[in-house]
Symmetry: C2
DNA sequence: CGCCAACGCAACCTGCCGGTTGCGTTTCGC
DNA sequence: GCGAAACGCAACCGGCAGGTTGCGTTGGCG
């Protein structure tokens, strides 16, 4: 019922799609590429990749649905860029997890009054 | 060729499976549960869940393969706990991404000499 | 104006992921 | 010692994710 617990549960359903989006090799490559070189067109992204342009396109829309990227039409090209706010959402979730875990271990240790391996 | 760039590429192939493991709803629920309550048996984990015990078991081994959890046999139970070091690996990767992106945007701004929306 | 480059759309295929079910095995408790 | 609890193993299944291919559409360019 506490606010912190509610927000944690809410974040959970929100964080899973983000992790899922980052959990694919090709997609993580795209993210890294966009990250190192800044906004890029689909062709540019497909050039270095080991899969077809259409595959890249699909992955880009997957990243968009996860809120991790957005695009804009420029001439006959479509330029994609990262949405870093969403990345920090995932990061914050991981922080929260770690802290909760440490707290749980502390309580456990206090309860058993004996140190674990 | 620089060490930082090499480690970034190495981390990429290493980070994807972690994100993939966290990218499933059921699995993230398990992580959150383990996180809040400390080490738990399979039954305990399956009690609150909406899927069968076997599903939970499969997910636990998936988490183990990703390096996110480990188990030990205690009597007729198997107790599962988190491996937070692996979580921080993912966290560090996200940090790296954000920083690279900011740097890329700076370079881009310097190149175009005009601020983006 | 005609061509090519960059992209969008849609159909199709294949493998694997998430889940269930059934049954065997070990361990605790009485 | 016997039953039940907690778990392991294996087979099975439906659906969808990831990828390719083919073709249509739009915009730049000489």
């Amino acid at each position: 019922m506490s606010r912190t617990r509610t927000s944690a549960a809410a974040k959970l359903a929100e964080a899973a799609p983000i992790f899922a989006a980052l959990g694919d090799d090709t997609r993580l490559h795209i993210v890294a590429r966009l990250c190192g070189d800044g906004p890029l067109s689909i062709m540019r992204l497909a050039d270095g990749a080991s899969v077809s342009r259409q595959a890249i396109t699909k992955h880009l829309y997957a990243l968009e649905e996860a809120g991790l990227a957005r695009s804009s039409r420029v001439g006959r090209e479509r330029i994609w860029e990262l949405r870093t706010k969403r990345l920090s959402t995932a990061r914050r979730y991981l922080d929260q997890i770690s802290q909760q875990w440490d707290a749980a271990l502390d309580r456990l240790r206090a309860f058993v009054e004996k140190d674990e391996q």
